[in-house]
């Protein structure tokens, strides 16, 4: 009896507990992930039920497609700028908020507020910010006599991707701030005090003591930013639809258009497979380097 009870406890109950979650998760994410790989080798158009296997044709086409390289370049611009602005602005805000200020919660909430908005809402708000004649930026510029600097912020092929990245930065900075703040708060005050006694000034103790100790938080921030930058879709779709022309196209949008506008579903799956592999490779390289560095210390 006891043994039976033991088996029930050790084998059957874990299965029963895990079943609903694991089933829905595996079928809808891993199942469709595998299905995605399979579909990328077919000529499925999304309209008919049948499809034929066509080998690597979609991938060969993809690697010859200039739109692909353009979209990939934009994702990379997104990642690089996001690794500069929200990374450091978030850290800066966290340091400011951490200095025992009055109204800490109010400031934190303000910086975090954009993060609670849907990308579509952000898209509307910032399309208005960038609006060329009456929008916030240009009307402010002309009000202070700098009207000559006014631009078509998202209508200009050279500027559009940078304007979009900036909007993304506005949204994600509150998130990086909160992460850094948690990191700062986990550092013992004694260590900082000790560095002060050794004669370090504010800046020195921050740079030589605090900043290195934020390593784990930084890893999380960098990983999040990289993943986000390679999967960005909503903002671009709602603000520019990838335009003007292809100027602000990104991988996810490229995939969406091929699949749902041109009904090249299987080509779309090939794009998303490559997008997935890019994220995977970048993450593996980055994380293994970070882990290795940690091992050395």
């Amino acid at each position: 009896m006891n043994r039976l009870g033991n088996i029930a406890d050790r084998v059957i109950s874990p299965i029963l507990f895990l079943l609903p979650s694991l089933l829905v998760y595996l079928v809808f994410t891993f199942g469709t992930l595998i299905y995605s790989f399979i579909l990328s080798f077919t000529d499925w158009d999304g309209l008919t039920k049948n499809f034929n296997f066509i080998g690597f044709a979609n991938y060969i086409k993809l690697f010859k497609d200039a739109t692909f390289y353009n979209a990939l370049k934009n994702n990379m611009i997104w990642a690089v700028i996001s690794l500069i602005i929200p990374m450091f602005l978030g850290l800066y805000l966290a340091v400011l908020v951490d200095r025992k200020i009055r109204g800490e919660n109010i400031f934190k909430s303000i910086f975090y507020l954009p993060q609670t908005l849907s990308f579509v809402v952000v898209g509307v708000i910032w399309s208005w910010v960038y609006e060329p004649t009456k929008g916030i930026i240009n009307s402010t510029l002309s009000a202070i006599g700098l009207g000559s600097l006014a631009q078509h912020w998202i209508g200009n092929t050279k500027l559009t991707i940078y304007s979009l990245v900036l909007t993304g930065a506005w949204q994600i900075t509150g998130y990086t701030m909160v992460l850094y703040l948690a990191g700062l708060r986990s550092i013992s005050q004694d260590i900082i005090e000790a560095s002060r006694i050794d004669g370090a000034n504010n800046w020195q103790s921050f740079w030589h003591v605090v900043y290195p100790m934020l390593r784990n938080v930084r890893t999380v921030v960098i990983a999040t930013i990289i993943i986000n930058s390679f999967k960005v879709f909503d903002l671009v779709y709602t603000m520019t639809s990838g335009g003007p022309g292809e100027a602000s196209n990104v991988l996810a949008l490229f995939m969406y258009k091929e699949a749902f506008w041109k009904f090249k579903m299987s080509y779309g799956t090939a794009i998303s497979v490559i997008q997935f592999l890019i994220i995977l490779i970048v993450m593996v390289v980055y994380l293994s380097r970070t882990i290795k560095q940690e091992g050395e210390i």
Binding site: L18, L33, W44, V124, V129, E131, A252
Partner: protein, 285 residues
């Protein structure tokens, strides 16, 4: 001499404080300007926008634009859709994730780590890889353009983060509590429901709030898996509104504000939990 030094120090400190607050206030205002713009513009007429531009203050605070946005796109229906999709998704996702987190943290069994790893891997998965096969699969199940399509997808994609956070919380609950209950002949399910879950209330609150905002704010799945008023969420309706009224910024911003209100209310009510939640589930973007 000594007294002077202290005085100087004090003055320096005061100046430092003033600079600190000034910097914070300037940055905060900078962050709020786009939102401020969206609010004031939603109370202006198109005429006002065209003649007076962005920085003018609205002549009066009427709700005309809100009513127009609401009626033109039948916003009431879409908001209802969003609630009907979001609430069950949140509850089901957290419930089944808590069940899964229990054996992953409280029972030792073979393959435990592999299963946990599977869930964690999901945190890094970009949803776009699943987009087209899921679109096909949902069609095959006959669920296209129904609430269920979105509920299932949100539940499935909520699993990694919910399991991850709950498992990490459960594993830190002292095991003595469980051993004592076992001695008294409690089954695993009773331990889960009577001991572990009540202790996990704060974490569950965090997850409820986070899942609510993520699912409410979702645009991509709503766009792909629904097509009509019968199931489309508010975010997609707002996008369509934006497409219809390209120069009526007052209507667009009114629509955006309506869409944002539920999540902003949740945020303002539960700020503390938000901040806590990010640190708990730091991997989720």
């Amino acid at each position: 001499m000594d007294g002077q030094g202290i005085n100087k120090n004090k003055i320096n400190k005061t100046i430092g404080r003033i600079v600190l607050y000034l910097t914070l206030i300037i940055l905060a205002v900078g962050f709020l300007i786009p939102i401020y713009g969206s609010i004031v513009t939603s109370f202006k007429s198109v005429q006002e926008i065209l003649t007076k531009g962005f920085w003018s203050f609205p002549k009066h605070f009427g709700l005309e634009n809100y009513i127009e946005a609401w009626q033109l796109k039948n916003f009431g229906r879409y908001i209802l859709n969003s609630f009907i999709i979001t609430i069950p998704s949140v509850i089901i996702a957290i419930l089944i994730a808590s069940l899964a987190a229990y054996p992953l943290s409280r029972i030792k069994f073979k393959g435990q780590n592999i299963i946990f790893f599977l869930f964690v891997a999901g945190l890094f998965l970009p949803p776009q890889i699943n987009l087209l096969p899921l679109y096909k699969f949902i069609n095959m199940l006959g669920l296209y353009d129904t609430y269920w399509a979105l509920i299932i997808v949100h539940v499935a994609f909520g699993q990694p983060i919910c399991v991850f956070i709950l498992r990490n919380f459960f594993i830190n609950i002292p095991f003595e509590i469980q051993e004592a209950a076992k001695m008294d002949g409690c089954s695993n399910f009773r331990i889960y429901s009577k001991i572990i879950m009540p202790l996990a209330k704060p974490v569950i609150a965090v997850l409820l709030i986070f899942q609510f905002t993520w699912i409410w704010n979702d645009f991509l799945w709503g766009l792909i898996l629904t097509q009509s008023e019968s199931a489309r969420p508010i975010t997609v309706a707002l996008f369509n509104l934006q497409g219809m009224y390209t120069i009526e910024w007052n209507i667009q911003t009114a629509g955006a504000n309506i869409t944002a209100i539920p999540t902003i209310i949740v945020f303002l009510l539960f700020q503390r939990y938000f901040i806590k939640g990010i640190t708990l589930g730091a991997v989720k973007g």
